[in-house]
Amino acid sequence: MSSVDADIDALKRLREALTRFRYAQQQVTDRVGSEIETARASLAEKASRCRGELQQRQAELDACRDRAANTTGEESLVDCSGYVRAVAETQQRLEHVQLWQQRVDEEAGAFRGTADGFRALLETDLPRSEAHLAAAIASLEAARGLHGPGS
């Protein structure tokens, strides 16, 4: 094919690029779904760990308070403030993780709307664009009497 047919060459490269783009972006959208699930699983595991830790800290605080209630005289000066602080800190961490869980759910939901539209474009509109280009290429080749391989 001569340089006169550079337009046909360029259109063929564009059509190939569209096809590669479609497959590559479908893989990207699949991977994003996995990334969302991975993030959710990680946050759920952290929340679960925080709950377990909170339960343990609360039990330690309860035991301290029992000791304080069951002792007399000088022994009654049992200091449970450290346990109180530990419970409060763990509770805060749990709430922090839960807030991130909520935020990730909201953002993933908002993203899904755009992603669904893009996925539909990849699966429906893009093949039409490729077909349109193929027809344009065939038309140009027919007008010039070209019927090369891959046309």
Partner: protein, 70 residues
């Protein structure tokens, strides 16, 4: 090796843009104008919107992981 999804999406869009620029230099008939209006521009617009939403999402996922790394 795949990179971050948003970076891969951006890269693929750049490659496609280069292919379109090359084709547009040679293709100027009515079919080209139709393709530009009815295929290329909607694709470009949707891809950019998707990339923007993807970048935002990935930033949130990264922040969630970083901010809860106890």
């Amino acid at each position: 090796m795949p990179g971050r999804p948003d970076q891969d999406c951006d890269h693929q869009l750049s490659l496609l843009g280069a292919a379109w620029d090359s084709a547009a230099q040679h293709w100027h008939d009515d079919a080209a104008r139709y393709f530009d209006t009815h295929h290329w521009m909607p694709l470009l617009s949707a891809s950019r919107s998707y990339l923007e939403a993807l970048r935002k999402l990935i930033a949130v996922l990264d922040s969630a992981e970083r901010d809860t790394g106890y």
